[in-house]
Amino acid sequence: MSEISMTVNGRKVQGTVEDRTLLVHFLRENLGLTGTHVGCDTSQCGACLVHVDGKAMKSCTLLAVQVSGSEIMTIEGLANGADLHPVQAAFREHHGLQCGFCTPGMIMSAIDMINRHPEGLDEATVRAELEGNICRCTGYHNIVKAVLAASKEMAKSTKGKGRAKAA
């Protein structure tokens, strides 16, 4: 057992976990943050994607104890009250979801992708970058549309307000 502490969605949290506890289970079971999903459990589908110190990582392939001391952002940490994050808003606007199971991972992946491409995104890049996120409803067309729209929207607001990276 280990004592761990980390910042999750801006909130300091701690817990005592078995060393084998995966980050996704710590988030879901200890913290009740069930927006992060376990899909394939084999590191392929990306439903468990969260940001660790600002980078997208698969929380089903990380031990919670490995990231003790880190800053974690999950899907629950994106919206500002009733105001959706631009990527969440774009997924709603463009219907970038069907059953919704992969959506939290898709959105966390999209934000990471947009942050890594300040020069902007094109369709081919978005499709290539979504390599690690699987939508078994196969709703990729609208997901790609949503990511492209969000990328444009976030570029506008970055220019307008000179604000730092979202999430």
Binding site: D19, R20, S43, A56, L63, R116, G132
Partner: protein
């Protein structure tokens, strides 16, 4: 996953001390954690190397490149100096896994694991890289020893890899459509010591240098020099994804693409 005891190493010396008995070293964990989840691996202890600062970073000094073992695939794939010095290895790093995996997986972890379908072992072998550990330095030719086997001994930790930038280098990979691991990947270089061509994903004993490809490219470093070259399939992998004959054909096809990239 079976129960395990986690230790966070502060330094390489600390890690060497902690790595006793059935302990395993944990870097990015992109292979080890899935192996533990499926109980294919069940170490008693994990020694986490990812918080050791000395293991991180890329330096390009003249023609010499040194990459710390704890450097992630993402860091290699996006390093501007390295992209100028040796674009082939930057390209290779960008083909590993997916963006989230590249944020975590490390070059040291990849070569210490020596998966027969991993990308980096081919690069190390073709670049004639030197693998440095906490105990010694050894050439890539002596480091890789077969499927998931290396020359590493208990308590020995890869600390960095280094190589001299060759005049030309290129990599081509035919990814398995499901796993995206290399079904065959070929890394070719032309340097002052001649041509080297290393193949991953295809050999039944892991990464290897192809004599046939090297001989043909030594005459002329062009894709056309590979026309009609026979790659023997006797020691190639054969599985549900591809026969050994198909892999032999892929080696030739990937070698042609790698040479074209190296000459571009």
């Amino acid at each position: 996953m079976y129960a395990v005891n986690y230790h966070r190493a502060k330094s390489v010396a600390d890690a060497a001390k902690l790595g006793k008995g059935d302990a395993k070293y944990l870097s990015g964990g992109m292979t080890l954690i899935p192996a533990m989840k499926t109980r294919l691996a069940a170490p008693s202890d994990l020694v986490d190397l990812t918080h050791i600062k000395d293991l991180k970073g890329i330096t390009v000094s003249g023609k010499t490149v040194t990459i710390g073992a704890g450097t992630t695939h993402y860091e290699v794939a996006t390093d501007a100096k390295l992209a100028k010095a040796c674009p082939a290895i930057v390209y290779l790093a960008g083909l590993i896994g997916d963006p989230a995996v590249r944020h975590r997986g490390t070059i040291g972890g990849s070569i210490a694991n020596n998966d027969p379908a991993a990308d980096y072992p081919a690069a190390m072998l073709a670049l004639g890289a030197t693998i440095t550990t906490n105990k010694r330095s050894l050439p890539a030719d002596k480091f890789f020893k077969g499927l998931f086997e290396t020359a590493l001994k208990d308590g020995e930790i890869v600390t960095s890899v280094s190589f001299t930038v060759p005049a030309k280098a290129g990599y081509a990979k035919f990814p398995n459509p499901a796993s995206r691991y290399a079904m065959t990947g070929v890394f070719v270089t032309k340097g002052k010591d001649g041509v080297r061509a290393a193949v991953t994903g295809a050999g039944d004993d892991g990464v290897f240098r192809s004599k046939e490809i090297e001989a043909a490219l030594s005459k002329k470093f062009e894709a056309s020099a590979l026309e009609g070259v026979k790659v023997p399939s006797g020691s190639l992998m054969e599985d549900m994804h591809a026969s050994s004959d198909y892999r032999a054909a892929l080696i030739l096809a990937m070698a042609k693409r790698a040479v074209a990239q190296a000459n571009a």
